[in-house]
């Protein structure tokens, strides 16, 4: 076993005697058995002490070490890194400094400070390390760099000072940098509203937006940070004046340990760079010449992503408790739409570097091409998940599982949600601390494991014997299926406790889920409501009916309770005016309630009168119609002798009203009371059902022989609907009196049928046959028929033409004096 000792911090760095910067003390067996030597190696030199007995070797070795410590050597695990701080390579020094920073090695502070005195390329890393170590003795060394013009040095210095809590310098920096902000952003800052500041940044001059981001983030104020996060969502990172500062904010977020900003910028930079960035003409930092330069090229993007992943690994190593937080903040920005068309072994999300690293970095299904940072499946079978855990640092996810909840509720990528839910299944205790809102958000995750988790947790929190009504109140505002089921179960279990309380009933009847409303209404309607509480509940529900419905049908349950358990109470405490007001001004549900009440309201008929009831019989709400029809039916005196109201009801647009009117007209009204005008009016209706009934009435009249056939036929002949023509023709054939006058009065019927573009063949044939028969009966009719047929004889419909021509020929033959338009040759 060897002891390595390093020259202590007080001895300076990079001396010419760098070879003796360290010493190694080791023991080795002497040539004599049981004897040991103590060897000290210092650079190229060496010294051997001994031999010593086995019993005293430890003491002697301790003395040698003590002697070396007396020379200024120390034993430290960071010794090698301290040594590297004195190395010749700036890169080496920078890496060592960062490593020491992560380790929080306070013994390195003097050397790091010494490095700031003669700044080289490693300066930024040295400043970062000083910040990370967090010892205020470094403030004086860091402070001058916070005023530098060079962004990278200023950034490192300011971020270090933030960690060192040098408020005085930071205030000075803020004041100085404030002037760099556009005026509108400066004004918005006064309001301390993140959204307003973000809007101001977005509306600022294009080239000022990037610098605004950096300056705002540098201020390290909550509203400024919120503004930066908000604004970056809408900015094009491939714009040269934005990219530079976006990169800066990303670096700052790492130095500051700001997981949210880190996650957002990591994701946004990856998405912006994945397309290869853009080419802009910019001034070169090397020679000051403007030339087209790629901005956020694939190469740059890859460097950024590598840096981000290195940072995550460092966090896992040095701040293991924070790793899951940082990783989840990156993951939750991915969304399903980030996928591209899969190509060979590259899946849809092959270019989502952080996504694959964080979720599958420890699995063996994917292999990463470190040059392009693209993840490919190893083979075709690898496409399917293996079932084992593939995320790196699985032990950290298990030791700090809280971010699973945030991931599950906020992530927008199905795989991320699946990963988070799997974590929650392993660590259900995370849900114990979750708010109800967070739990309910989980229900939106489209995975089957989500709902049982939430329901189980909610069940755990609810005790039916002592219900948590505030929890119920929250659930009343939800309409997810599992919540509804749960809520209905809870309400069922606690019915005895809430049913007698009017306020609770009223509230539950307004649940967002219609099925809950219905169940509540059904439970309340199961038995008459307790007398003492009925009136208060009725008043509460009445008040709720007065305004417009939030959504259509949302008052259905309330109306159901009012029409059910509270009907008698409502009838006793309201009057007809109330019913009519409901019908006139209410929503359809409320109108239905009004109808239900109206049907049972005493004196409704006397107050309304038959005219208003007829109008209500055509109402679009079935309950209202039913009430009106009920009142009409139960008051036959109003229509038995003068059935005009029934005719009006018969022409209702609603079949139930029509059917009732038909029934009453058929069975309750005398045929003579009907009259010709009424029957013809029914036939004139625009509704086929009414016309059918009208035809039935007319036939009854004909059978009874109470009508003048000529008058009826004259009226029917003017009907424009085809379905009436056949009926009319049948009546004509059987009832039209002989002679010219009756025939001439209905001439329009014949022209209508003959000029119909959609004729029924038999109808036309029968019409022509009828006309022929009438024409052949006497000369006057023959002349009249010849004139009618003369208009149609030039038809191109062959069958019609032949029939018309034949008829005309027969007329000509029977009455040679009659002038006919003979068919064309």
């Amino acid at each position: 076993m060897a002891h390595r000792l390093y020259r202590g911090p007080g001895l300076g760095v990079a001396s010419e005697e760098a070879v003796s910067e360290s010493a190694v003390v080791s023991r080795e067996p002497a040539t004599q058995a049981g004897q040991w030597l103590v060897r000290v190696a210092r650079g190229s030199e060496g010294q051997v002490y001994g031999p010593f007995d086995e019993a005293e070797i430890a003491t002697r070795e301790g003395e040698v070490i003590a002697a070396l410590e007396g020379e200024g050597f120390v034993q430290t695990p960071n010794g090698e890194l301290l040594q590297r701080l004195a190395g010749a390579s700036a890169k080496d020094r920078a890496l060592a400094a960062l490593r020491l920073g992560w380790r929080g090695a306070e013994e390195a502070i003097p050397r790091l400070i010494a490095l700031t005195e003669s700044p080289g390329e490693e300066l930024c890393s040295v400043l970062d390390a000083l910040g990370m170590i967090g010892n205020e003795s470094a403030i004086a060394a860091v402070r001058p760099f916070a005023a530098r013009k060079l962004l990278s040095r200023r950034r490192s210095a300011v971020e270090a000072l933030i960690r060192l809590e040098d408020h005085e310098t930071l205030a000075a920096v803020r004041d100085r940098e404030h002037a760099r902000l556009p005026l509108n952003v400066q004004e918005a800052l006064a309001g301390e509203d993140g959204a307003a500041i973000a809007d101001a940044v977005l509306s600022a001059e294009a080239k000022k937006r990037g610098v605004s981001l950096d300056v705002l983030y540098e201020r390290n104020e909550a509203h400024c940070t919120a503004a930066v996060r908000r604004a970056v969502l809408k900015l094009d990172l491939t714009h040269p004046s934005i990219w530079r500062y976006a990169k800066s904010v990303f670096k700052r977020s790492m130095l500051r340990g700001d997981a949210k900003t880190f996650g957002l910028f990591a994701y946004r930079c990856e998405r912006a760079g994945i397309t290869g960035g853009a080419v802009h003409t910019v001034k070169s930092g090397y020679d000051g010449k403007s030339r087209p330069m790629p901005i956020l090229s694939r190469k740059t993007s890859n460097k950024m992503r590598s840096a981000g992943w290195r940072y995550l690994r460092d966090v896992a190593q040095w701040r293991p408790e924070a790793y899951t937080l940082f990783a989840s903040e990156v993951l939750l920005h991915y969304r399903d739409s980030d996928g591209i068309k899969p190509e060979r072994r590259a899946g849809a999300f092959a270019d989502c570097f952080y996504f694959n690293r964080i979720l599958y970095g420890n699995g063996d299904r994917l292999e990463v091409d470190w040059r392009s940072l693209r993840h490919r499946f190893k083979n075709a079978q690898s496409v399917h998940p293996s079932g084992s855990r593939e995320e790196p640092f699985a032990e950290l996810w298990d030791s700090t599982p809280r971010p699973f909840l945030r991931l599950a509720t906020r992530a927008r990528h199905l795989e991320v949600q699946r990963f988070a839910l799997a974590g929650l299944v392993r660590h259900p205790e995370v849900l114990h601390e979750a708010t109800v809102e967070a739990l309910l958000r989980l229900l939106n995750v489209p995975l089957p494991t989500a709902a049982p988790l939430v329901v189980a947790e909610l069940e755990r929190r609810f005790d039916p014997r002592a219900p948590d009504w505030s929890l119920v109140e929250i659930l009343l505002g939800r309409d997810e299926e599992p919540v509804i089921e749960l809520l209905i179960r809870w309400l069922d279990e606690t019915r005895d406790q809430w049913c007698p309380v009017p306020e609770r009933v009223a509230r539950f009847l307004e649940s967002k889920a219609v099925s809950v409303q219905r169940r509540v209404a059904a439970w309340v309607n199961e038995a008459p409501y307790p007398e003492g509480s009925a009136v208060p509940l009725m008043e509460l529900l009445r008040a709720k009916l007065s305004g417009p419905e939030s959504t259509e049908g949302s008052s259905a349950a309330i109306a159901s309770v009012l029409a059910g358990a509270l009907r008698s109470t409502l009838l006793a405490h309201t009057d007809l005016e109330f019913d009519l007001a409901l019908i006139a001004d209410g929503s359809p549900t409320v109108q239905a309630l009004g109808g239900a009440l109206l049907a049972e309201r005493d004196g409704a008929y006397a107050a309304l009168g038959i005219v208003r009831l007829v109008a209500l019989a055509d109402h679009s709400i079935v309950n209202v119609r039913r009430a009106a029809l009920h009142l009409i039916r139960t008051h036959p005196d109003a229509w038995r002798q003068a059935p005009a109201p029934l005719f009006a009801v018969a022409e209702s647009s609603w079949s139930d009203s029509r059917e009732l009117a038909f029934e009453l007209l058929r069975t309750e009204v005398d045929l003579e009371a009907l009259g010709l005008d009424a029957a013809v009016r029914l036939c004139d209706s625009g509704t086929e059902a009414v016309r059918t009934f009208g035809r039935e009435m007319l036939v009854r009249h004909f059978v009874a022989g109470v009508l003048d056939p000529d008058e009826v036929l004259f009226r029917l002949a003017e009907h424009p609907d085809r379905d009436m023509w056949r009926f009319t023709l049948e009546l004509l054939e059987n009832h039209l009196r002989p002679g010219l006058v009756p025939l001439a009065r209905i001439e329009r019927f014949f022209t209508g049928v003959l000029f119909d573009l959609w004729p029924r063949r038999d109808l036309k044939t029968r019409t022509l046959a009828f006309l022929e028969a009438r024409a052949l009966s006497d000369g006057n009719q023959a002349d009249h028929v010849a004139r009618i047929l003369g208009r149609i004889v030039r038809t191109r419909t062959v069958s019609d033409f032949e029939r018309v021509a034949q008829t005309l020929q027969r007329i000509q033959h029977a009455f040679p004096d009659v002038q006919t338009e003979m068919p064309p040759a």
Binding site: A644, D677, G686, L757, R794, R796
Partner: protein, 559 residues
């Protein structure tokens, strides 16, 4: 452009046992127009309003067939097929088939059980749809009360058909009073159904006016408002119709049976291939013959259709299905006149039902709306109109309400052709209309904005500049000196001109032009590609217009 309508209630037809009251609510946002009278001949009015309604709701523009249901069915068949594809076990296959049959039976049962619900839902949606359709799409007709007639004008939704119903006051008895003017009337589908209940054996009263509805229904009517997004082309189209009527149209008389034969043939035959035109063969002194393409079916019209034009012509017109809106009028029609503007150009039909006249104007073809492609204004007279005579003619016509050209000429003591040009401009601005059947010009302010001659002229100029590239190109060609007249011969009807024009495409072509003394293009041909492709269906080509510009310039110089 948003057209706003506000009515004090809905128009209604209240049919009692012995009388009918038609109450047409007018737009209260427009001038107060009213009319009230007893209709003595309700049947022709009923039929004419039925035809008008068909025009109002007609939309014959091509819309692709909705194949969603078919695709869903196809996908279901695919799924079924794929389900059976993997089954190699015959017993399993049979079992699956049995289950499919069982499933179909259950589905049928479910459909049967849900039939009342489905029916009720369908009726509900139809009701909603009808209301929404009327409120958002159906353009209410324009009603104009004249001193001698009341007329209703409407334009179809597809902007390709225009219809006008004019009822002379002789078919009213006991007119209570009227106030001349123009407004809109509320015209719903339900109202159309009620119109069909008009009968001659019931006394029928027609009331048009803002308060007509409450009088008819004896109740306070709720205000009904409609807002319809109207394309600007719709309004222009309305005006272009009357611009077309001022063109030199070929007139043919038809018998109702002629229209019946054409419509019946079209209804019984569905053309699946182009061309789908009607070819009118006009031979002086002979009956007109119509050929229905693509079958070339020959329909010789009745003897009334003898053509009395000067020369033989064959004119093809498209969008023939739109003629079927005339069907309700055939039984009552006493005289039908057809006016043809030319090949692929609009046609106008007037159906006289004795005191009730129905005018139908159809654009060149269904997709060719009145403004989209046809530049009829370019065909119309070109003598420059000045603001002062335009104002004089407008006020004279407004005072008389309707007048013939001769009456206006003698009343204003101005040049007859100048007045014709002014009337043409007024028609294009929606301030006047042509009554083809009556042979008169009528005053009709389509818009509520006050008349301003300058505004009318400016709008015309803007339309010419904006809407027609040919007119612009013609002016450029003339300005560049690339057009010249080779011969210009005065004839009885005006001038026949030939010329040589190098157009904007740098090709020299030879246009031939026949114009009347005021520059109205009676006929034109050209050797250019535009004319070969479109003839005059999209207006004259730039070369013809350039030739006319030079001619009008010479006319102006008194040459």
């Amino acid at each position: 452009m948003e057209m706003e309508f506000k009515y004090s209630g809905r128009s209604a037809v209240v049919t009692g046992l012995g009388d009918t009251r038609m109450a047409l609510a007018t737009n209260t946002l427009r001038e107060a127009v009213f009319f009230g009278g007893e209709l003595t001949r309700p049947l022709p009015v009923r039929q004419a309003l039925e035809a008008l309604h068909r025009v109002v709701v007609s939309d014959l523009k091509y819309t692709p067939k909705d194949r969603e249901a078919f695709r869903a069915w196809l996908a279901e068949q695919d799924r079924k097929f794929l389900r059976t594809l993997g089954l190699k076990n015959e017993a399993l296959r049979r079992e699956l088939e049995e289950k499919e049959v069982r499933l179909d039976a259950l589905n049928a049962l479910r459909s049967e059980a849900r039939a009342p619900f489905t029916q009720a839902r369908r009726e509900y949606f139809e009701r909603i749809y009808t209301d929404a359709y009327e409120l958002d799409y159906v353009l209410d007709p324009v009603v104009t009360v004249h001193p001698d007639e009341i007329s209703f004008e409407a334009f179809s939704i597809d902007e390709s058909s225009y219809a006008r119903v004019a009822a002379k006051y002789d078919c009213f008895s006991g007119i209570d009073g009227f106030e001349c003017g123009t407004t809109n009337i509320d015209f719903s589908d339900r109202l159309h159904g009620e119109f069909s209940r008009l009968r001659s054996y019931r006394s029928t009263r027609l009331d048009v006016g803002a308060s007509a509805v409450s009088v008819a229904t004896e109740s306070h009517a709720p205000v009904r408002e409609k807002r319809i997004q109207l394309p600007e082309t719709w309004l222009q189209g309305f005006m272009q119709v009357h611009s077309v009527m001022t063109l030199g149209l070929r007139k043919i008389r038809l018998a109702p049976i002629d229209v019946f034969n054409i419509c019946r043939f079209l209804r019984r035959h569905r053309a699946k291939t182009s061309p789908r035109a009607l070819r009118w063969q006009l031979r002086p002194g002979e009956r007109t013959v119509v050929f229905v393409e693509p079958w070339d079916a020959r329909i010789e019209l009745s003897p009334a259709s003898v053509y009395d034009g000067p020369k033989e012509e064959t004119i093809r017109t498209w969008g023939r299905d739109r003629l079927q809106v005339l069907e309700p009028l055939l039984a009552d029609a006493e005289r039908i006149e057809l006016y043809l503007a030319g090949h692929g150009l609009p046609l106008v039909v007037t159906v006289d039902m004795d005191l009730v006249v129905f005018t139908l104007a159809l654009s060149g073809w269904t997709d060719n709306d009145w403004t989209g492609q046809s530049r009829f204004s370019l065909l119309s007279r070109r003598i420059d109109v000045k603001a002062e005579p335009l104002t004089a003619v407008y006020h004279a016509l407004r005072e008389k309400r309707y007048a013939t050209l001769d009456e206006l000429t003698s009343a204003l003591d101005r040049d007859r052709e100048e007045i014709r040009s002014c009337l043409s401009a007024l028609c294009q601005a929606g301030r006047a209309m042509v009554d083809l059947a009556g042979g008169v010009y009528r005053h009709r302010d389509l818009l509520l904005t006050p008349f301003s001659a300058k505004a009318v002229l400016a709008e015309q100029k803007r339309l010419e500049e904006d809407s027609d590239p040919n007119a612009k190109a013609a002016r450029q060609t003339v300005a560049a000196g690339h057009a010249r007249i080779t011969s210009r011969r005065p004839v009885k009807t005006g001038f026949k001109i030939t010329g040589s024009v190098r157009g904007t495409d740098n090709e020299r072509v030879r246009p031939l032009l026949h114009v009347d003394p005021e520059g109205l293009i009676l006929d034109a041909t050209c050797t250019c590609k535009f004319f070969r492709t479109h003839r005059l269906t999209k207006g004259p080509c730039e070369h013809v217009l350039a030739l006319r510009l030079i001619h009008m310039d010479r006319l102006g110089k008194g040459e």
